[in-house]
C-alpha cells in the first residue's frame, strides 16, 4: 500500500465511522421524539397508552373552560363520540376558544378516569381552522359528522362579535 493509498484509506474510514455514529445518534433521537396523534376516542379505546409525550386533537367543549389558581386552566376536549379532561398551566393561544379545534401536547394519566396533562396547546391562526389530523379523524362517509360542534361554533362567534378584546 502506498502512502497516498494509506492516507486515503484512513480518511475514508474516518468519514464512514463518523457517518455511522451520526446515523446511530439520529435514529436514537428519532425514536425518542416521535409523537403520536390521538383523538379522545383513540385515548379511551386504547388498551394502554404509552407513557410519553403525545398529541391530543379535538374540539374544546362549550362551557368547559375553568380557571384555577394562577395560570392553571382546565377544559374538555371532545371528538364526535368521546371527551377527555385536559389540564394546562400557562398562556393559551390567541385563537383558543370554546368550540374551536385545538391540538394539545402532553401526557396521558390514567388515574381517576384519565386526564390529559398538557404542556403546550396549539390553535391555528384561522377562524375556521380545524387541525388537519382531526378533520380527517372526524370525517364520515357523509362528510362532517359532528353536528353538536356547529352550535358550539355559533356560541363562540357571538362572543367574539361582542368584542372579545375589550371584554373583561
Amino acid at each position: 500500500m502506498t502512502r497516498v493509498q494509506r492516507y486515503r484509506l484512513i480518511g475514508v474510514v474516518c468519514v464512514v465511522a463518523g457517518l455511522g455514529v451520526a446515523a446511530l445518534l439520529a435514529s436514537q433521537a428519532f425514536r425518542e421524539n416521535l409523537m403520536y396523534f390521538y383523538t379522545p376516542s383513540d385515548l379511551l379505546a386504547a388498551e394502554s397508552v404509552p407513557d410519553r409525550r403525545l398529541r391530543l386533537g379535538g374540539m374544546v367543549e362549550a362551557g368547559s373552560v375553568q380557571r384555577g389558581e394562577g395560570l392553571v386552566v382546565g377544559f374538555v376536549v371532545a371528538d364526535c363520540a368521546q371527551a377527555v379532561a385536559v389540564e394546562y398551566e400557562g398562556i393559551l393561544p390567541d385563537l383558543f376558544r370554546e368550540g374551536q379545534g385545538i391540538v394539545a401536547m402532553g401526557r396521558w394519566q390514567t388515574e381517576a378516569g384519565g386526564r390529559f396533562i398538557a404542556d403546550e396547546v396549539l390553535a391555528k391562526h384561522d377562524e375556521n381552522y380545524m387541525p388537519p389530523d382531526l378533520a380527517e379523524a372526524m370525517m364520515s362517509e357523509t362528510g362532517h359528522a359532528c353536528e353538536p360542534f356547529k352550535s358550539a361554533m355559533e356560541v363562540s362567534a357571538v362572543r367574539r362579535d361582542a368584542g372579545a378584546v375589550n371584554d373583561r
Binding site: 492516507y7 451520526a22 439520529a26 428519532f30 387541525p131 375589550n166 373583561r168
Partner: protein, 645 residues
C-alpha cells in the same frame, strides 16, 4: 379590465417561456448561433411581460378591486397602502406570481451580466431557466390564477391575515423566494456543464457569484422569518423546526455546501461531479420546499393552500425536473473527471469534511420533515417529530463544523503541513480561549460542558476567521474581496454560534398572572405591570399593556406589548414588545385577561445574546455580498478568448 390585462400578460409569458426553453436548445443542438442568441432577448422580454402581470395584480390591490377573487380574499378597505402592496404575496396565487417574477428576474440578470459567457453555455443556462419558467407559469395559469373574478362582487374583502401585517413580513417572502429561485441559476449552470461536458475552473468562476447571491438572499430570508416569529407569534421562540422552516433550511444547508465545494472545483479541479450533484440537490430541495408548503400536506402555520390539484402538479413538476436532471447526471457525470489526486490533509480535504457535515445535517432534517408525511401516507399512524430530535442530531453535527471553519482557513491547498497550521493557529487559539473565558465569566449564569464548548467554538470561529485575512494582508498587502467576504461570513457564523449557545442555555422564561400594580421577578429584573389601555390602529383595536422593567430599582426600559383585534379578519393577534441589546433581550407579550379584577396572563422573558443570532445572519449576508462582488468572478474578454480557443 386590469385583471384581464394581467391574465393576458401571463399567457404571453407562457408563450415566451416556451420559446426561451426550446429555441436556444435547438440552437445548441444544431450549432446555430442565431437560435442560441435568441435566449438573451427572450429572457428580457419574459421579465418585462411578467412584470406587467405583477403590476396589474398590485394595481388591483391598490384600487380595492374586490371583484378579483384573490384581492377579495387578501385585502380589506381599511388595509393600509403598504400592506395592500405587500398583500400581493400574502396568499398562494400571488406568491406564486412573485416566484415567477423572481425567476424571470434572475434569468434576465444572467442574460445581462454574463454577456461574456461562451454562447452555447449561456444559451443552455437560459434555456434551462426558461424550462423552469414554463413549469411555474403553467402552474400559475392552470391551478392558481390570481386574476380569477368573483361573482357576486363582495362589499368588502376578507382582509390580509393579521399575522402578515408586519414590516418583517413585507420583505421576508420576497427574500426567501429570491434565495429559493436563485438556486435555479446554479442548477441551470450544472445542466449546461452536464450537456457540454465542460466543467473547469472557468465554469466554477461563473457559477460561484450566482450561488453566493442566492445563498445570501436565502440567509436573510430565513433570518427575517425567525425575527418575525419572535415578535409576532407571541411566544418568544425564534426557531421551531417547523416543517416550513425546515423546507427553507435544507436548501440553505446544501447551498452552503455548494459554495464550499465550488471553491474546491475552482481552485483544484476536484469534486466536479459532487459539485454538480449539490447544485441539482439545492434546486430540488427548493422545489420540494415549494411543494411541501403549497400542497397543504404539511400541518403548519404556513400551509394555506390545500387544493390537491396544486400538490399533484408540483409533485409532477418535481418528478420531471428531478428525473430529467438525475438521468442527465447518471449519463454524463462519469465524463466529469477530476484533475489529480485528493490529499486529505489540505484545504480541499477540510472542505470535503465541511460538505460531509452539511449534507448529513440536511439529510437528518429531511428525514425528520418527511418521515411523518411518509408514515401517514402508508398508514403507520399520525406522527410528528419534535424539536428535541432536530436539536439532538443537528447540534452535534454543527460543533465539528465550527471547529473546522477555523482550521480550514489556516491550511494550504494541495498538501498542507501540520507545522504551518499549528504555527498560524497558536495565537487565535489563545485569543479565543481568553475571549470565551471572559464571555462565560461575564454572562453565563451556570457553567456546564455545553456552554464551555459552545462558547469557545463561537469565539474560536470568530477569531480564527480573522486570522487568515490578517496573514494575507501582511504577506501581500492586499485582500481580495472573496477572501474578505469569506472571513466576514465566518465571523457571522461565529457570532451566531455564540448567540444560539447563550440564548438556548440561559433564557429565563416566566408566564405569570398579574393585576395592575403587581410585579414579577425574572432573572435579575423586576417587571412591573402598570395596566392596560385601549388604543386604535388603522384597521385594528388593541389593548396595550405598560410594563416597566427595573434592575435594582433603576428603570431599564418600558415595554408596550399589544393584543390586537383586527376588524376586517376578525382575528386576535399578539404583538410582543422587545427591548434589544447586545447583552440581552427583555421581552413581554400579553396572553389574555383573566377574571374580573383586571388581571392578565403575561409572558416575561429575559433572553441573553438573542440579538447575536440575527446579527450573525446579517454579517454572514454582508460577507456574501462582498464575496459575490469579487472582480475575479466577472467573466472578462480574456476568459472569453480562452473559452473560444
Amino acid at each position: 379590465m386590469i385583471a384581464e390585462l394581467g391574465h393576458f400578460a401571463l399567457l404571453i409569458a407562457l408563450a415566451v417561456a416556451v420559446l426561451m426553453a426550446l429555441v436556444p436548445a435547438y440552437g445548441v443542438w444544431r450549432t446555430d448561433a442565431t437560435a442560441m442568441a435568441f435566449a438573451r432577448p427572450a429572457a428580457l422580454v419574459l421579465l418585462a411581460v411578467i412584470f406587467v402581470a405583477y403590476l396589474c395584480l398590485t394595481a388591483s390591490f391598490v384600487n380595492h378591486d374586490f371583484s378579483v377573487a384573490y384581492v377579495a380574499g387578501h385585502s380589506h378597505s381599511e388595509l393600509p397602502l403598504i400592506y395592500r402592496i405587500s398583500a400581493v404575496w400574502g396568499g398562494h396565487e400571488g406568491s406564486l406570481l412573485l416566484w415567477v417574477l423572481m425567476l424571470s428576474g434572475w434569468s434576465a440578470a444572467v442574460a445581462l451580466l454574463n454577456r461574456n459567457l461562451p454562447l452555447n453555455i449561456s444559451a443552455l443556462v437560459l434555456s434551462t431557466l426558461g424550462a423552469v419558467a414554463v413549469g411555474f407559469v403553467l402552474f400559475t395559469v392552470i391551478t392558481s390564477n390570481p386574476f380569477d373574478r368573483l361573482v357576486p362582487i363582495p362589499a368588502d374583502g376578507r382582509d390580509l391575515n393579521p399575522l402578515l401585517q408586519d414590516p418583517g413580513l413585507i420583505i421576508h417572502p420576497p427574500l426567501l423566494y429570491m434565495g429559493y429561485v436563485g438556486f435555479s441559476v446554479a442548477f441551470a449552470f450544472a445542466i449546461a456543464a452536464l450537456v457540454t461536458g465542460r466543467l473547469d475552473a472557468a465554469w466554477a468562476r461563473w457559477t460561484r457569484p450566482w450561488t453566493t447571491s442566492a445563498w445570501l438572499f436565502l440567509t436573510m430570508g430565513i433570518a427575517l422569518g425567525s425575527w418575525w416569529a419572535y415578535h409576532e407569534l407571541g411566544w418568544g421562540g425564534w426557531w421551531f423546526w417547523d416543517p416550513v422552516e425546515n423546507a427553507s433550511f435544507m436548501p440553505w444547508l446544501i447551498g452552503t455546501a455548494l459554495i464550499h465545494s465550488l471553491a474546491v472545483t475552482e481552485k483544484r479541479g476536484l469534486l466536479k461531479s459532487w459539485t454538480v450533484l449539490l447544485a441539482i440537490m439545492a434546486f430540488s430541495l427548493s422545489l420540494l420546499g415549494t411543494f411541501l408548503v403549497r400542497s397543504g400536506v404539511l400541518i403548519s402555520v404556513h400551509a394555506f393552500a390545500t387544493d390537491p390539484a396544486r400538490g399533484v402538479f408540483i409533485l409532477g413538476f418535481l418528478v420531471v425536473v428531478l428525473g430529467g436532471a438525475f438521468t442527465l447526471y447518471a449519463w454524463r457525470a462519469p465524463k466529469l473527471v477530476s484533475d489529480g489526486a485528493f490529499p486529505l490533509f489540505s484545504r480541499e480535504g477540510f472542505l470535503l469534511l465541511n460538505n460531509v457535515f452539511l449534507s448529513v445535517s440536511a439529510a437528518a432534517v429531511l428525514l425528520g420533515t418527511l418521515y411523518p408525511l411518509f408514515a401517514d401516507a402508508v398508514g403507520l399512524g399520525k406522527i410528528s417529530v419534535g424539536p428535541p430530535y432536530f436539536n439532538a442530531v443537528f447540534l452535534p453535527l454543527m460543533a465539528p463544523l465550527a471547529l473546522l471553519v477555523g482550521l480550514a482557513a489556516a491550511v494550504n491547498w494541495k498538501r498542507a503541513r501540520l507545522t504551518d497550521m499549528t504555527r498560524r493557529l497558536r495565537l487565535p487559539l489563545l485569543l479565543s480561549l481568553v475571549v470565551a473565558a471572559l464571555l462565560i465569566w461575564q454572562w453565563a449564569t451556570d457553567i456546564g460542558l455545553v456552554v464551555l464548548v459552545g462558547g469557545w467554538l463561537g469565539c474560536w470561529t470568530l477569531v480564527a476567521a480573522l486570522a487568515e485575512p490578517t496573514r494575507r494582508l501582511r504577506l501581500t498587502g492586499r485582500l481580495p474581496r472573496g477572501v474578505a467576504g469569506m472571513a466576514i461570513a465566518h465571523v457571522g457564523f461565529g457570532a451566531m454560534v455564540l448567540g444560539i449557545t447563550f440564548v438556548s442555555l440561559f433564557s429565563v422564561e416566566r408566564d405569570v398572572r398579574l393585576a395592575p400594580g403587581q410585579s414579577a421577578d425574572v432573572a435579575q429584573f423586576r417587571f412591573q405591570f402598570d395596566g392596560i389601555e385601549p388604543i386604535q390602529g388603522p384597521n385594528y383595536d388593541a389593548d396595550r399593556g405598560t410594563i416597566r422593567v427595573y434592575r435594582d430599582d433603576d428603570l431599564v426600559t418600558t415595554l408596550y406589548p399589544e393584543k390586537r383585534f383586527y376588524r376586517g379578519a376578525q382575528q386576535l393577534m399578539t404583538d410582543a414588545s422587545v427591548r434589544h441589546s447586545l447583552s440581552r433581550d427583555l421581552y413581554a407579550s400579553l396572553g389574555e385577561p383573566i377574571g374580573d379584577a383586571g388581571e392578565w396572563a403575561i409572558r416575561l422573558y429575559v433572553k441573553p445574546m438573542m440579538l447575536w443570532v440575527w446579527l450573525g445572519a446579517v454579517i454572514m449576508t454582508l460577507g456574501g455580498i462582498l464575496a459575490a462582488s469579487d472582480r475575479r468572478y466577472r467573466a472578462r474578454p480574456a476568459a472569453l478568448a480562452e473559452a473560444a480557443a
